[in-house]
């Protein structure tokens, strides 16, 4: 079990709770490794994340690539306003839109 990501699965959904505060060059490889086990609806939970840089964005893009190949949906949850701004700047929001926790209730 990763100490960087905690998995929560129900039905076709997996929520990947990112446990590190920094999505950066140090944590990127461990985070990106989780893209090997995605589900048809994969949600990255950023509630613990206080910092994301371009090395982190590169790691997150591996989820985007995997989701596109598999025809899966990828969402982000609990993204800070600052990180929403950064995601818009690089147009990550197009490929990993945000979702509210309440919207997942129907899948539980």
């Amino acid at each position: 079990m990763s100490d960087i990501i905690r998995r929560e699965e129900f039905g076709d959904v997996v929520i990947l709770h990112i446990l590190t505060t920094s999505v950066d060059a140090i944590s990127a490889a461990a985070i990106a490794a989780e893209c090997r086990e995605m589900r048809p609806i994969t949600v990255l939970d950023f509630s613990e994340v206080s910092f994301i840089n371009s090395a982190g964005i590169s790691a997150l893009l591996k989820f985007v690539v995997s989701a596109r190949k598999a025809g899966y949906q990828l969402f982000a949850m609990n993204v800070t306003p600052h990180h929403q701004k950064i995601f818009k700047m690089v147009e990550m929001s197009r490929y990993m839109p945000t979702i509210e926790e309440r919207d997942l209730a129907a899948y539980r």
């Binding site: 910092f51 840089n53 893009l61 690539v65 600052h82 690089v90």
Partner: protein, 142 residues
């Protein structure tokens, strides 16, 4: 003017030390939380560039970071001990279908720096590269 100086080895974990210092310096200088976040990210990208592209990961080479604070701005100089960089691409870099298909998942750093700071300068020679970033204090928006 007040000055804070750091020198770190070219090892990625020490970028976090500079980033934490940037946050403290920005807060101490009275910058808004949003500007502090912009400062942290710009400095992080610049330091990672200095480690990866300037010093090419040579752990014997240092990255120098100087924060100069005055009444209106913070000026940050990030210097490496590399052999200079011929071309630095600051063009807008966004994610699109073409780059995803090509597996090109990197290259956002200089674009983010250029978009997050108020102005910047790059000087590169065979003695190394110096990136100077400036952020001006802004009143928080109501």
């Amino acid at each position: 003017m007040q000055r804070v100086e750091l020198r770190i080895p070219s090892i990625p974990i020490f970028e976090r030390v500079v980033r934490a210092s940037a946050a403290e310096v920005g807060s101490a200088a009275g910058f808004s939380p949003e500007q502090v976040e912009d400062l942290k990210l710009a400095v992080s990208e610049a330091v990672n560039n200095a480690i990866d592209h300037g010093n090419r990961g040579d752990t014997a080479k240092l990255v120098g970071v100087t924060f100069d604070i005055d009444g209106e701005k913070i000026e940050i100089r990030i210097s490496d001990q590399g052999e200079g960089i011929e071309r630095i691409n600051v063009a807008r870099r966004v994610i699109d279908d073409e780059t995803l298909e090509a597996g090109y998942l990197r290259g956002f750093g200089m674009y983010l720096i250029s978009a997050l700071v108020d102005d910047y300068e790059i000087e590169s020679s065979q003695q190394g590269t110096v990136l100077t970033l400036r952020l001006y204090r802004k009143e928080p928006q109501q």
